[in-house]
């Protein structure tokens, strides 16, 4: 019997249910875990995704794309399978996909994290026989500190920039990380934050979903020559080194990403600060999830999975890598 989910040129495919999960080429029916570009691609005939993520997906795939929403935990029959979506804790509306067929249960985590995040429903541990998991940060050096201490460190840097009368430009991914930062900072401070244009509509989608965040002002609305000294500006990494940066003279710059945990990565980015904040599972969470879901087989995607697979095997869990086209070492949203 072929495995319930197999790797096809167009992506992960479930023959029994005749659907793909996060396919990288157009297919008749796609189940989407979340709205990041390496998971949600346009062109498929029908999409199924968590109801809470539809706003983002409409923004990403187009307002009239053939999207269908499913509440977390709601079961739906697809072909010979029963499919349900469960919170992944990654970004707003992110989901793990649970597939039941012939007495066997598979779970595809998509991207996930187990740290608390005020912008999305918390990760739910879903028992299964086979787990297809992400493994972006699959080395034990990647271990996240509590988010609150990261938020406080960012605030301390912001305050220092205010003292020195220079702008504080914080680079982070436009979808997920930016909104999480705005929500986390709202718990420790109350000041407006300036946004790069690419982030404005995405922050609005989160506001529409009722997420509490700091007030934001689009940089483009500011008068020419406005002084940003002492102000926090969020910008996507793609804005680095562009003429757009010229208005933030003498700015102190920082980058927020899980990769900032390692000094070599911080130095390579060349920013004044690196804040360790990720929307992916850290090593302890990757190991705990594999163990706690009770799977007899774990298949790992994303990035360098060798150490993770070998470690699980030593722990008595059968594990293997699965070569997908999801963001790897240079993942666009880590």
């Amino acid at each position: 019997m072929p495995p319930l989910i197999e790797l096809r040129p167009e992506g992960l495919y479930c023959a029994a249910g005749d659907f793909h999960i996060d396919p990288w080429r157009p297919v008749p029916r796609a189940v989407l875990t979340h709205g990041h570009a390496d998971h949600a691609r346009s062109g498929s005939a029908r999409y199924l995704a968590a109801a809470q993520g539809l706003g983002l997906l409409r923004h990403r795939l187009g307002a009239d794309s053939p999207l269908e929403g499913l509440a977390y935990g709601e079961r739906v029959a697809l072909g010979d399978t029963v499919v349900s979506l469960h919170p992944a804790g990654h970004i707003l509306g992110s989901a793990q996909v649970r597939i039941e067929h012939a007495g066997e249960t598979w779970v595809v985590t998509g991207d996930y994290k187990r740290d608390p995040d005020p912008t999305c429903a918390p990760f739910e541990l879903v028992p299964c026989d086979v787990l297809i998991t992400e493994a972006t940060f699959a080395l034990p050096v990647y271990r996240w500190e509590p988010t609150e201490s990261v938020a406080r460190a960012i605030l301390a840097w912001w305050d220092e920039c205010a003292r020195r009368r220079v702008p504080a430009v914080l680079f982070c991914y436009a979808l997920g990380k930016a909104q999480r930062l705005l929500a986390e900072l709202a718990r420790v401070v109350e000041r407006p934050v300036h946004l790069h244009g690419a982030m404005v509509p995405l922050v609005q989608v989160y506001r529409d979903a009722g997420i509490a965040m700091l007030p934001t002002l689009p940089v483009s609305d500011s008068a020419r020559g406005r002084d940003f000294a002492g102000e926090l500006v969020l910008a996507p990494p793609s804005a680095e080194g562009t003429p757009w940066m010229r208005r933030f003279r003498d700015a102190s710059t920082a980058f927020a990403s899980g990769w900032m945990r390692v000094r070599g990565n911080r130095r390579r980015r060349g920013h004044d600060r690196g804040f360790v904040l990720s929307d992916h599972a850290d090593w302890p969470a990757l190991v705990a999830t594999a163990r706690e879901c009770g799977a007899r087989r774990v298949l790992a995607t994303h990035g360098s999975t060798d150490a993770y697979v070998a470690f699980l095997r030593e722990q008595g869990i059968y594990a293997a890598p699965l070569r997908t086209e999801f963001g790897g070492e240079d993942s666009a949203h880590a």
Partner: protein
């Protein structure tokens, strides 16, 4: 140590020079003398003598983290730095209590490590890891594994010291020259008021270094204002004749005494109270021998008769810095050279003076420079005749005008991840040339590509790996690079039979197929011609 760890983290995080200087100066002002002395010692790139081997630390990291040894190794390969890897794999225990010991007390603790029984040593290190927070644990591990390397230059440190003390940087640099021992007393002497005399009889002056020529020599003005000399390929050194003794100091401010007895003997003819600047060279019959011969001598104290005969050395004098105990450095070079010749003549010519290179105008000198390699030199030195002897590498008065490097087209065959800033990138490359239809490695090179090229080559290497041997990957022999190097010699120790000096990447020859890379015979012929 919290204050020093905070300084270290601040220096590491900031990219702005003025922030670094301010942080350093604030630390120097606030720290107790003995701590400040040690901080200065470490920031100058000095390290503690071996405290504990890396193998022991790795084993302890396995114990402390609970991860298997191979996973600790994988983590190390990813992070690229053992001290940082251990810091990331261990964590402070919440119930551990630790007093904040001052830095010099930590130094004493660390220096006591080698004398401990293994079990006691291990328990102590594990205890430290459990008690210190991330920043302190990182600094501790850096001290355990070697140099701190925090990315501040000696110039910045001096600038901060000057800011903290109000003393001129040149004076501080002079007081720091030679062997500076980090003690509270030494710190106080270093920061003593400017009118306090610093008599230290065997100390060299800070070396004045030449800057590389970047423009055409015509930009230097009239030829007549400049002294041209050969750029000798030896060890820059100062010869100090004071208080009836002789001391030889290298530019790295290491004492070379005992290695070159023929030079020390000849120096006895010099009058007391003088300092010469010059070059130690392997030398026979008035001409230089390959640098490799000099290398044989550097490591050897009290060389035997055979070594002395096989690799004879000479000291070629460039400059006179002190006579009768008086500092001549403010004087013009022309005047110092005249006094140098007179002094050597009066002493019976114990050392030759590095000769001036003739040539009436810049084109004539350019022609002379073309013959530099044939004479066993690296090019020309141009020194302004009116220049004082300054401190460090200051542009404007002394230039090195090197001959263009030798080049070879070679094929990339192995790659290894870099360290530090480039820990996750394959940046250390091994290159090979053809011998028949086999590729023979001839050079390793690290530098020469820009960040974008490094990233692109890194991706290519990952996608075209043939085999992995630990941290090293062999790759498909496809990519050709033009390498530059400063010299080449026949060598029995290298598989290729030749050894190149200072190889670096000139450019990535994506236009060139691997089959058109150079052949070993070409290199061997080159070595025979100029080696």
């Amino acid at each position: 140590m919290k204050a020093f760890a905070a300084l270290y983290a601040g220096l590491d995080a900031s990219t702005a020079t003025r922030d670094k200087v301010a942080a350093l100066a604030a630390y120097f002002r606030a720290a107790p003398a003995e701590d400040a002395a040690w901080a200065l010692h470490f920031l100058s790139g000095e390290r503690l003598k071996r405290t504990v081997g890396p193998a022991v630390l790795r084993e302890l990291a396995v114990r402390a983290s609970g991860y298997p040894a191979w996973l600790v190794e994988d983590s190390y390969a990813h992070v690229g730095d053992l001290a940082e890897t251990i810091t990331l794999l261990t964590r402070r225990c919440d119930d551990a209590v630790a007093a904040d010991l001052p830095l010099h007390r930590w130094v004493a603790e660390l220096r006591a490590v080698p004398a401990l029984e293994p079990a006691q040593r291990d328990a102590r290190i594990l205890g430290w890891w459990a008690a210190l927070d991330d920043g302190e644990r990182y600094v501790l591990n850096k001290l355990l594994t070697g140099a701190l390397r925090v990315g501040v230059s000696q110039r910045l440190v001096l600038q901060a010291l000057a800011e903290a003390s109000g003393l001129p940087a040149d004076r501080l640099s002079q007081r720091l020259a030679g062997t500076w021992t980090p003690t509270a007393d030494a710190w106080r002497r270093l920061l003593a008021p400017a009118d306090v005399d610093d008599a230290r009889s065997d100390q060299p002056y800070p070396f004045f270094l030449a800057a590389p020529m970047e423009d055409a020599p015509a930009s230097l003005g009239p030829r007549a204002e400049w002294l041209a000399e050969w750029k000798w390929d030896g060890i820059r050194a100062q010869l100090i004749r004071r208080s009836g003794a002789v001391a030889v100091w290298s530019r790295g401010e290491e004492r070379l005494d005992g290695r070159f007895p023929e030079i020390e003997r000849a120096a006895a003819a010099l009058p007391d109270g003088c300092v010469l600047d010059g070059e130690v060279l392997a030398w026979r019959d008035g001409a230089p021998l390959p640098f490799g011969l000099l290398q044989k001598r550097i490591g050897r104290l009290k060389p035997g008769v055979k070594t002395l005969a096989d690799a004879p050395v000479a000291f070629l004098a460039y400059d006179l810095l002190e006579v009768d105990g008086a500092d001549l450095r403010a004087m013009a070079l022309a005047e110092r050279r005249a006094r140098l010749s007179a002094l050597l003549a009066a002493a019976g010519d114990p050392f030759p003076v590095s000769p001036a290179v003739d040539g009436d105008d810049w084109p004539a000198l350019a022609a002379a420079r073309d013959s530099a390699r044939a004479r066993g030199t690296e090019g020309l030195m141009l020194k302004r005749l009116a220049s004082p002897y300054q401190v460090g590498r200051k542009r404007g008065d002394w230039f090195k005008w090197k001959v263009d490097p030798l080049t070879v087209d070679a094929v990339l065959v192995y790659a290894q991840a870099g360290h530090g800033r480039r820990a996750n990138l394959y940046t250390d490359y091994t290159f090979a040339v053809w011998q028949g239809d086999a590729l023979v490695p001839v050079a390793k090179a690290y530098s020469g590509l820009d960040d974008a090229e490094i990233a692109r080559l890194d991706r290519w290497i990952r996608a075209h790996t043939r085999e992995r041997f630990g941290p090293v990957r062999s790759v498909d022999p496809v990519q050709v690079f033009e390498l530059a190097f400063e010299g080449i010699q026949a060598s029995g120790r290298h598989k290729a039979g030749v050894a190149v000096r200072f190889p670096r990447i000139l450019r990535w020859r994506e236009d060139k197929p691997a089959a058109e890379a150079d052949r070993l015979e070409t290199l061997q012929a080159l070595a025979a011609r100029i080696g």
